[in-house]
């Protein structure tokens, strides 16, 4: 495989083709903070906390390190005034959802983020997509997904699938960076409305009262 030479925080790095900036940085022990990254899942670029400055062809751009492929001659800065400011605001926005989330509080201390800067949001969910992606990529059950868009975007369980799969799994709960309770709440909400008994295509959907098939 072709080798790629780039520079991260002044250190020369030799990366393999196909590596992202985040992977290249980790290979030399340079820490880039992440929230939505997970070793078993594909890069998603939802939280943007891994944003870094990258110089290429005389142009500086801000890129998500978890998604941006390492390229020859790239000069990356993982900490700069601009990057720190961006991370601070991102964290402040996430803290408006989950002011006590351990991971966020730790990062907030590093970047001087004020957890009270924005009004509190009702949902703990920061839309990192870890539960959604874990369910789709690893478990391949697709029990939880994104609904709506923009400011209304939220996660929700598909009741027909959740009633069959979720109760014995719940593997997505501990992945949640903000509050496992949030997923539990959303799951309960989905199961509160039992799926229609005769719904076609819903397979074993008899969670309702009439069923005796266990």
């Amino acid at each position: 495989m072709a080798e790629i030479n780039l520079q991260i925080d002044g250190k020369k790095v030799v990366a393999q083709e196909g590596m992202t900036i985040l992977e290249a940085a980790r290979s030399i022990g340079v820490e880039i903070p992440t929230v939505c990254d997970h070793e078993k899942l594909l890069p998603y670029g939802a939280c943007r906390v891994c944003t870094v400055e990258a110089d290429a062809n005389g142009k500086t751009s801000l890129v998500a390190a978890c998604q941006q492929p390492a390229a020859n001659g790239l000069v990356v800065r993982t900490r700069s005034e601009k990057v720190d400011r961006i991370r601070k605001v991102l964290l402040e926005q996430m803290l408006s959802h989950a002011p006590d989330a351990e991971q966020l509080v730790a990062l907030a201390a590093t970047y001087g983020a004020d957890r009270d800067r924005f009004d509190k949001e009702a949902s703990f969910c920061i839309l990192c997509g870890l539960c959604v992606r874990y369910c789709a990529e690893i478990k391949q059950k697709h029990a939880v997904g994104f609904f709506e868009r923009g400011s209304k975007r939220e996660i929700a369980f598909i009741p027909e699938v959740a009633v069959r799969e979720c109760w014995d799994c719940k593997e997505c709960f501990p992945l949640c960076p903000t509050s496992a309770l949030q997923a539990a709440y959303v799951l309960t909400e989905a199961l509160m409305t039992p799926p229609e008994v005769d719904g076609p295509g819903s397979g074993h959907a008899c969670a309702g009262h009439k069923c005796q098939c266990g």
């Binding site: 997904g145 929700a156 719904g199």
Partner: protein, 176 residues
Amino acid sequence: MDIGIIDEIIDKHGGESGALIQILLDIQGAVNWLPKEALARVSEKLSVPMSRIQHITTFYKTFSLTPKGRHEIHVCLGTACHVRGAQDILATVEEVTGVKPGETDPDLNFSVETVSCLGCCALGPVMVVDGEYHGNVKPAETAKVLSQLKLTETAEALEKLKQSETAEVLNLCACQ
């Protein structure tokens, strides 16, 4: 709803998962909304998870997960239409149809939606009724167009009633 129509639409697109949005659009066109059974069928035949279908159907405003009226009325509230009195048009639409934006009446006659720009600002204020554009509309004109629709609806409803058994019963009652 006849599930056969859904199957036909899916087959027309060769059952390709890549045609998901096209299929959903066709279903929306054929039955005016996306019933749950239809989505379940699409999910099954295309092997696309329901979560993905729900994600897409809640993302695009074209798709409706609740029944829509036979007549769809869109009133543009974009900047150009707004300054030319789109609010008055919307008020008239609400008054004549009795339907608020984003809602449908129980008889499924009308659905009213507001839109943020139709791309023909020179015609503002613009109202679209069943795909037909009405530009430079005045409240009075709006009322006229909608009343005409309402009359047609009533006539059709009466016609149906005439043919039904109810009518026979009513006729009997009238005779006696």
